[in-house]
Amino acid sequence: MKVLSQIRPYGLAAISCGLALAVAWPLDAPVSCFFLAVMVSGLYGGKGPGLFAVGLSALAFDYFFLPPRFQIDLDTASFLRFGPFFGANLLVVGLIEAKRRTEKARRQIAAQVQRSEAYLAEAQKLSRSGSWASTADSMQTTYWSAEMFRIMGLPPSDNSPSLEQLAALFPPEAWGCLTEMFEAARLKKTTFDGDFPLISQDGTDRTLRIVGHPVLGASGEILEFVGTAIDITEQRQARAALERAFDEIKKSEDRLRLIIDTIPTLAWSAGARGLAEFFNRRWLDYTGLSSGQAVDGGWKAVIHPSDVDRLVGHWKSLVASGEPGEMEARMRRFDGEYRWFLFRGCPLRDDSGRIVKWCGINTDIEDRRRAEEALRERERDLSMIIEAIPALVWCASADGELTYVNQRILDYAGANLDALARAGWVGFLHPDDVEPTVRSWLHSLETGQPHEVQYRFRRFDGVYRWFHVLGQPARDTEGHRTRWYGLLIDIDDRKNMEEALRNTQARLSRAAQTATVGEFAAAIAHEINQPLAAVVANGHACLRWLSAQPPNLAKAHEAAERIVRDGKDAGEVIRRIRALFKRASLEATALDMNDIIGEVLRLTRSELVRRSVIVETELEPGLPSITGDRVQLQQLLFNLLVNGIDAMDGVADRPKKLFIRSKQQAGEGVLVEVSDCGPGLAEPDKAFEAFFTTKQNGLGMGLAICRSIVEAHRGRLWTESANGAGATFCFTLPKHASTDR
């Protein structure tokens, strides 16, 4: 094809020459026809086909038209025609070729310009920048690049917008500013450059950077202004975002600093080589140093002189090893007081594991140290107490294995802990006590109930002594038993005393009987004093009546009679008291219980009045006789009465009433009940025990004596108590053997 397209102009040249020959022959005007053919070939095909047509035309002209015709040879005359013809044709081809070359170069330039413009437009589009040109003396633009329209939000157009259209794109103040800058640039012939907001078209705030500079002519006058407009909205936004980010970083740094200064601990940091770099506010406040002083090695000055070498040495070793560590040392407060601190340092490493910094805190542990000290002190105290108390203390694990005994146990047993541990202690018990002790202990271990037992424990010299043993489990917060704590109390002396006490109780009870009689006597003193007082007064009266002037014999006589009567009364009282004091051996005679009750009531009458006690009786007539000792039975009743009276001492809301009943008891003889309306008995079982008393001044013997009297008479004594509603004491006595009613 390429060949064809190259050949084609030549073909066309040949054809046009042929045509020229055919037209010229009949017309005989060869010059102009061949001239035309050469021109056509040159214009169409260029230099090559043009010269080819020149050749062909020259041959055809020579052959057909110049004489000699139909010969190639030329004569001189013909040559004069032929020469200009050939030259003119060559000139035409040359001219046409020159014209073609110029045209070609022009086309190439135009294409290049077009390409450059396309590149520029693309660049402007990408950079969102447009270019413009304006007249020299006003903002009236003469040229807008395509991108300008896009940036300004206007539809593309060939014509740049008018001044009014332009002004409408900016907010008034921005436009004012722009025109002002333009004016200044125009006057000073300088470049202007400014950022201007655009009126928002689609709701987004946009900003343009507009740059313009004057183009000066040869004489220095302004020809025009050319410039660019760049949409810097995104750039601005990016910058704002960046600024915000910086701000944020700054703020968070401030916050961090604030936190570091506020955290309730002393914090610091040091460089990778261990040199102090930073101390937080609290650190500085505590020590009273300035930041500069502290960093300058001042921190060493606030460490206690006794601790500083140790601390610095430790710190150096930490820095050398690169390991975190801690240490306790005293640090001086601003007011000169040293407090204990825990110094902790930790290396900060970068991604590659290199230490870039050391951070640390100093924690105030003064209170903890003090508490620890106090605890140690207490522990020492406690252990001294445990070793010093005159008791044997032991401790066992939850499963019962002996883990500790105090020195006293070791001294007592003459053995060491090994000998006692692993149930070795059982070997020290009295053989008779082993079985109950072990049973109790195992029971306690199983149930967790306190262990309490008494056993005989062998002393180093082989003597067994009685011990009261107590064990108490200690529990953790969840209630599991963790340990057993126990105590051995030497009760050997007490045990012996109890034994001795039992032996002497009988004797004591007899002694106390006398003491009670003393009390009895005091109570009946009134009974004696009353008639005695009457006797004395009557005696005086009698004397006075006799010595009166004249003597009043009748009155004296009456007085004397009363002396006799009251004297007898007194004698009777004394006789009864003597009967009480007569300490005959148990004299078993047949007695009427009602008589004895009546007698005792008579003797206690004034005591009852004095204590505001009302006595009610319900005595069954015709009771069978009982066998007994009158004095002892009187005492029995007397004690029960006094007991009842005493029991009602605190009664204020109801009459103090004492109720006495006697009745026959089938098979048993006689039953006597003495009821009071006091508060009743809290511990009825204990009432008859010797020395048990609820009274402030009581000996605690009264009821114990009653029991021994009743038992000596082969009777029974018991209590019936409804709590809060008084107590009733009952006794029965067997009837006299010979009476059988």
């Binding site: 109570a523 009353q530 007082a533 004395v536 007064a537 009567r565």
Partner: protein, 214 residues
């Protein structure tokens, strides 16, 4: 200590004891000296008895069937009651201390001698006479005081405080002459012979003298 010693004001001895034997014997003894005796078996009987207007005293047994002697003493306190001589057959120290602290004349344990009893009765009667005397004097004063007009009662505190009539007049906002008249009336109605006597009377009546302004 004979019937001849008995003063003409005819004093009376009250006796409270629940034991008839003691009651009889003491009645006989006391009346043998010439005193009137009124004997009672209980506190209630004694309280019901219409007492004659004469110096009197009370011989009281500590233990009584109805009211304890100490309780009766407490009840009588501040009632213009006769002074008390306690007698008891079974005295204890706390009771005697309480009785004496509450103003008893004597605390006698039975049996006691006649001398002790009669001396105690004499002492008690003397106390009662003084008390009666004071009471009647005070009654007399109150009667005189009741005769004063309200204005005279106003003036009285100034007079007894030693204010001159002029000062009193200034204080009460009246004339010196008027005060002089009031003063004369007060002296007359109160039967006071001197200012000193009037001051003593005001003191007995419990009238506080006016305080002289500083």
């Amino acid at each position: 200590m004979t019937p001849g010693n008995v003063t003409p004001d005819n004093p009376i001895v009250f006796l409270v004891d629940d034991d008839p034997r003691v009651r009889e014997a003491l009645c006989s003894l006391i009346s043998s000296v010439g005193f009137r005796v009124a004997a009672f078996g209980s506190a209630a009987e004694f309280l019901e008895f219409e007492k004659p207007d004469a110096p009197s005293c009370l011989v009281l047994d500590l233990q009584l069937p109805d009211v304890n002697g100490l309780e009766l003493q407490r009840e009588l306190a501040g009632r213009e009651a006769p002074p008390i001589v306690f007698i008891t057959g079974h005295g204890d120290i706390p009771s005697s201390v309480r009785a004496m602290k509450a103003g008893a004349i004597e605390f006698l344990s039975k049996p006691f001698g006649e001398r002790e009893l009669l001396q105690a009765i004499d002492a008690a009667l003397a106390v009662d006479r003084t008390a009666r005397q004071k009471r009647s004097e005070l009654a007399e004063l109150r009667k005189s005081y009741s005769l004063l007009t309200p204005r005279e009662r106003e003036v009285l505190p100034f007079v007894v405080a030693g204010f001159a009539n002029k000062e009193t007049a200034a204080e009460l906002g009246t004339s010196e002459i008027t005060i002089g008249v009031h003063r004369g009336q007060i002296m007359r109605k109160m039967s006071a012979r001197s200012l000193a006597e009037l001051v003593r009377m005001a003191d007995k009546l419990g009238i506080a003298p006016s305080i002289r302004p500083a």
